[in-house]
């Protein structure tokens, strides 16, 4: 199917503008983290809100041309990752009142959106369009699941950086600016819990959809295999922590590894296997 964005200049411009907005917001958060700029301090949150609203408006316009169906393509998925990460981060910022981790999350979201915009401009194919409750829930839960994996990975990284700074008496910028270790641990574990929830929904919705369509899917399919491994490890870590006190430092290494692994997998699939699951009737 042809990429509708290439024939729709306003949509294409809006898509490219989104990248600019994400980068601009990421820069504002960065300036606020590394310096004490009043402009960045006051305008980073409105900037993020505006970016998210623009993104939602863009998604509305994009799907309206196809009867609000979600189409599976790498650039759409990356764009969805950007919006879900931003929405999740906005929720965290409002609930925890801590705005010092925004730079790391929004930078990742900006990266995802920039890749999406670049691929949008280059790709002639817009991907397979899906409709139906089961597949919709499957896709959206998978995207939120990946966002949760990204957030858990990023917060784990921040936890380890701060942990090392404190252990080595390096009371530098991260020590000054980041939330305390306990908060970072809570944020990581919340992200893991949400990740587990969304990945569970992804699995169940996928299974349900496969049963309805009668198509079969190989358990060795890379995306499915990765999903099951992460789902299992997340579930295990949630259970293990209260039971045997598996300490957050070791868990952080696992979450970072999973995040890097999934990101690498997505990038590789983007270039070598940009399709949905290999389904056979």
């Amino acid at each position: 199917m042809n990429n509708i964005l290439l024939g729709n200049i306003p949509l294409l411009v809006l898509n490219q503008l989104l990248s600019g907005l994400y980068v601009f917001t990421g820069v504002l958060y960065g300036i606020h983290f590394y310096g004490d700029n009043e402009f960045a301090k006051n305008f980073k949150q409105p900037g993020l809100a505006m970016t998210v609203l623009t993104h939602l408006f863009y998604l509305g316009l994009l799907t309206s041309t196809e009867g609000y169906k979600i189409s599976y393509s790498t650039f759409n998925m990356m764009s969805m990752v950007a919006i879900t990460l931003s929405l999740t981060y906005l929720f965290i910022e409002f609930t925890t009142k801590s705005d010092k981790t925004g730079f790391f999350i929004i930078s990742f979201a900006a990266g995802a959106q920039v890749i999406s915009s670049v691929l949008t401009a280059l790709s002639p194919d817009k991907g397979m369009a899906f409709s139906g409750l089961g597949i919709g829930v499957h896709l959206i839960a998978a995207i939120f699941g990946f966002s949760a994996i990204a957030i858990a990975g990023l917060y784990s990284l921040l936890y380890l950086l701060l942990y090392r700074q404190i252990q080595h008496n390096k009371f530098e910028l991260l020590f000054q600016r980041l939330p305390n270790l306990e908060v970072l641990e809570k944020l990581t574990m919340h992200a893991v819990s949400f990740g587990f929830l969304f990945l569970s929904i992804t699995l169940f919705a996928g299974y349900f959809e496969q049963q309805v369509s009668g198509e079969s899917i190989s358990l060795m399919e890379p995306k499915l295999l990765t999903l099951i491994i992460i789902w299992f490890l997340y579930g295990t870590s949630i259970v293990l922590k209260p039971l045997i006190g598996w300490d957050i430092k070791h868990m952080a290494y696992v979450f970072i590894s999973l995040f890097l692994f999934v990101t690498a997998l997505i990038v590789l699939m983007t270039f070598f296997s940009p399709t949905f699951h290999r389904l056979t009737p």
């Binding site: 252990q167 008496n169 530098e172 305390n180 270790l181 306990e182 908060v183 006190g245």
Partner: protein, 425 residues
């Protein structure tokens, strides 16, 4: 009109000189009352703290200079043998204002950005006001200084971060735990250092503080003072180590009171939940190998001093912002002082026109009705107000240099034929 400041502080004199010249509250009142009653000063105030004794004076005579005031203070303290004028600094006019602004903002303090000095300056002003030694100039100077200090506190980070070992310990604990009120704290040693750390923890909402000490009565006294009332016998505290999230040690001992094996066992019992040990003892109380344990944060005084150094570095980086605020307020203050010099001319100008108005109205008093006279008076008041508006506005307009004031004042006095003023402000 001038305002002079002289004094000794940590930059100009050693501690023994500062101690010798310092004034108690009673002496402060007596001293400034003496300056006023003897006709030396129109206004006076003394800021006396452990690090400074500074005199702020609006002189009543030309002979009253900085040198005069230094000698006067030395004589008052009968300290000629120890204290010399060279131990003093001296400022006048805007230099005085800048100095008080810097003092109030805590950038002139021994510990940059310390939080006590503003209260001490406020106290000095209270004493001067109660003694009726604070007139229009010192009142305005002090209120501007308070406003500068408030701006500095809210708009800069000059007062942020711990700059004492015990407070750095709390800052570190807050970087690991989010809520000290739910954490269990063990204080080993009820001496001065331990007491200070426990009090800082208490200020940050830590309520579950258990104290142990070789002399149990000292632990009980401190527990009572803190309001926690929790004491652990010194012989048994090792059995409870796993219950505590924060352990503060501040005892005088040559041997380690916490060993690696003990803490390893304790960490296993608490399922590796993080623990902070703050070793405030000298020599150190805790085996340094403990820091190798998983999720164990052991910090001694040297480590905490790293936090203090970093915080002081950050405070120093804020100095340009503080100085910019002071400069801005100083310009406004200087302009206000300049307007004081035109005040007698404004008063004379208004009096002259009111006199003319009253003379002219008097001529009509018996020629018109009472009601008409009131209307005429009302009308002339409005006309006078409009006529005088511009000359007064011109006189009060911001003046950058005091040199231009006499020409401006003389112009108005000559045009309106005003007599020579007999008061300075």
């Amino acid at each position: 009109m001038n305002i002079i400041s002289v004094g000794v502080n940590h930059k100009t004199a050693p501690i023994e000189i500062r101690e010798r010249i310092s004034l108690t509250e009673t002496q402060n009142k007596e001293f400034i009352s003496g300056l006023i009653s003897s006709g030396i000063a129109h206004e006076a105030m003394v800021v006396s703290t452990c690090n400074r004794t500074e005199l702020y004076v609006v002189p009543a005579m030309e002979e009253v200079t900085g040198e005069y005031l230094k000698e006067y203070l030395i004589a008052y303290k009968d300290a000629r043998n120890e204290v010399r004028p060279e131990h003093f600094f001296g400022r006048f006019y805007c230099g005085t204002a800048r100095h008080l602004f810097e003092v109030s903002s805590a950038i002139d303090s021994l510990i940059l950005g310390e939080g006590q000095i503003l209260g001490q300056v406020k106290n000095a002003y209270r004493i001067a006001a109660e003694t009726q030694a604070a007139g229009i100039l010192i009142t305005r100077l002090c209120h501007t200084a308070f406003s500068v200090a408030k701006k500095v506190k809210t708009k800069t980070k000059i007062m942020e971060g711990a700059v004492s070992v015990s407070y750095a310990a709390v800052e570190l604990a807050q970087k690991i735990f989010s809520n000290l009120s739910v954490k269990k704290i063990l204080l080993i040693g009820a001496g001065e250092t331990g007491e200070l750390a426990a009090k800082h923890m208490f200020q940050k909402n830590a309520r579950n503080i258990v104290i142990t000490n070789r002399t149990q009565s000292k632990a009980e006294t401190l527990a009572e003072e803190l309001g926690t009332g929790k004491v652990l016998p010194f012989e048994t505290y090792r059995d409870h180590l796993h219950e505590f999230d924060i352990i503060i040690t501040a005892v005088s001992t040559k041997e380690y009171i916490l060993s690696e094996a003990e803490m390893h066992q304790s960490m296993m019992k608490r399922k590796l939940k993080p623990v902070i040990i703050l070793d405030l003892g000298l020599p150190r109380n805790v085996d340094p190998n403990i820091s190798k344990l998983q999720n164990m944060f052991l910090k001694d005084i040297d480590a905490l001093k790293h936090i203090i150094d970093k915080n002081l570095e950050r405070r120093r980086a804020e100095l340009p912002k503080v100085k910019a605020i002071i400069d801005e307020e100083l310009v406004a203050f200087a302009q206000w002082i300049n307007t004081l010099k035109v005040r007698p001319t404004i008063v004379d100008l208004q009096s002259k026109f009111i006199e003319i108005k009253e003379k002219e109205l008097e001529r009509y008093r018996y020629k018109v009705s009472e009601e008409e006279l009131q209307r005429m008076e009302h009308l002339t008041d409005r006309i006078l107000k409009k006529i005088l508006h511009h000359p007064i506005k011109m006189l009060k307009a911001p003046i950058d240099t005091a040199d231009s004031i006499p020409s401006r004042v003389n112009l108005v006095r000559n045009i309106f034929d005003l007599e020579e003023p007999n008061q300075s402000y």
